[in-house]
C-alpha cells in the first residue's frame, strides 16, 4: 500500500497530477484500506461513480477534463441493452469480434450487473505519456 501512496506522491512531484487529484487518490487508497477484508469477507461499499480524469498538455496549453458518471447509468444501460432483439445482439457481437473485442453481449444480463459493479471498485486504469495523463477509477 505504501508503494501506491509513493507512486501518487511521485506523480504529484512530477506535476502529472494536481494536489486535488493526489488528495482524492490518497483518500480512495485509505478507504480501500479501511474497507479491507475482515475474517476473509470483504465489507466494502459498492462504488457509486466512475471517474475519468484527463490531463493533457500536448498543445502547449494545459487541458483538464474531470467526468463523474453515476454507475446507476451503467445499470440502466444494461437494462436497456437487455431489450435489444437477439439478432441485433448477434450482429453487434460479430462486429465486436471483427474489432478485436471478444465480448458476448448476449451474456450481459441485468442480474449480473451488481457483481460487475462490485468488481469495478478494484479497477484503476492509468495511462501516462510525457504530454498527457488519463486516470479512470471508481469511487
Amino acid at each position: 500500500m505504501n508503494e501506491q501512496r509513493r507512486q501518487i506522491l511521485d506523480m504529484l512531484a512530477e506535476g502529472k497530477i494536481t494536489a486535488d487529484e493526489a488528495e482524492r487518490l490518497i483518500a480512495a487508497l485509505e478507504r480501500s484500506v479501511d474497507e479491507s477484508p475482515q475474517d476473509g469477507e470483504p465489507r466494502r461499499k459498492p462504488p457509486k461513480y466512475l471517474r475519468i480524469l484527463v490531463d493533457d498538455r500536448s498543445e502547449g496549453e494545459q487541458t483538464r477534463v474531470n467526468v463523474r458518471v453515476p454507475l446507476q447509468l451503467l445499470r440502466a444501460g444494461v437494462r436497456l441493452a437487455s431489450l435489444i432483439p437477439p439478432h441485433a445482439l448477434d450482429q453487434a457481437n460479430a462486429q465486436l469480434q471483427v474489432s478485436g473485442v471478444p465480448i458476448d453481449l448476449t451474456q450481459l444480463k441485468p442480474e449480473h450487473i451488481e457483481d460487475l459493479i462490485e468488481h469495478l471498485a478494484d479497477m484503476t486504469i492509468e495511462v501516462q505519456d510525457p504530454e498527457s495523463n488519463v486516470n479512470v477509477f471508481c469511487e
Binding site: 457509486k48 461513480y49 496549453e61 494545459q62 487541458t63 483538464r64 477534463v65 474531470n66 467526468v67 463523474r68 458518471v69 453515476p70 446507476q72 447509468l73 445499470r75 440502466a76 444501460g77 437494462r79 436497456l80 437487455s82 431489450l83 432483439p85
Partner: protein, 86 residues
C-alpha cells in the same frame, strides 16, 4: 428521482464568474408535448421490433433517472466550465 437542478459554472480568467442553477422541472413541463410524440414513436418501434413496450419505457425512464449525479468539468487555459446534474 429525476435530476431537479442543472448547475452550470463558467469561470474565465478575464471575464467574471457565471454561476447558474437551472431548475429542470419547468423544462420537463415545456418538453412534455414532445414526450407524447416520443412515446408514440417508441411504441411503433417496439411493435416493429417485437420488444415489450412497457419494459422499454421502464428502461428509458431508468436511464433518465440515472443521470442524476452526472458531472463534467473542463478546464483549459484560464477557462473552467462545470456542468452538474443534481
Amino acid at each position: 428521482m429525476m435530476s431537479q437542478v442543472a448547475t452550470v459554472h463558467v469561470h474565465s480568467g478575464k471575464a467574471r464568474r457565471i454561476r447558474l442553477w437551472i431548475p429542470l422541472l419547468p423544462l420537463y413541463v415545456v418538453l412534455s408535448p414532445l414526450l407524447v410524440l416520443f412515446v408514440l414513436a417508441l411504441l411503433v418501434a417496439c411493435v416493429m421490433y417485437r420488444v415489450n413496450p412497457f419494459r422499454a419505457l421502464g428502461a428509458g425512464a431508468r436511464l433518465l433517472w440515472a443521470l442524476r449525479g452526472l458531472q463534467v468539468q473542463i478546464k483549459q487555459g484560464g477557462t473552467d466550465v462545470l456542468v452538474k446534474l443534481t
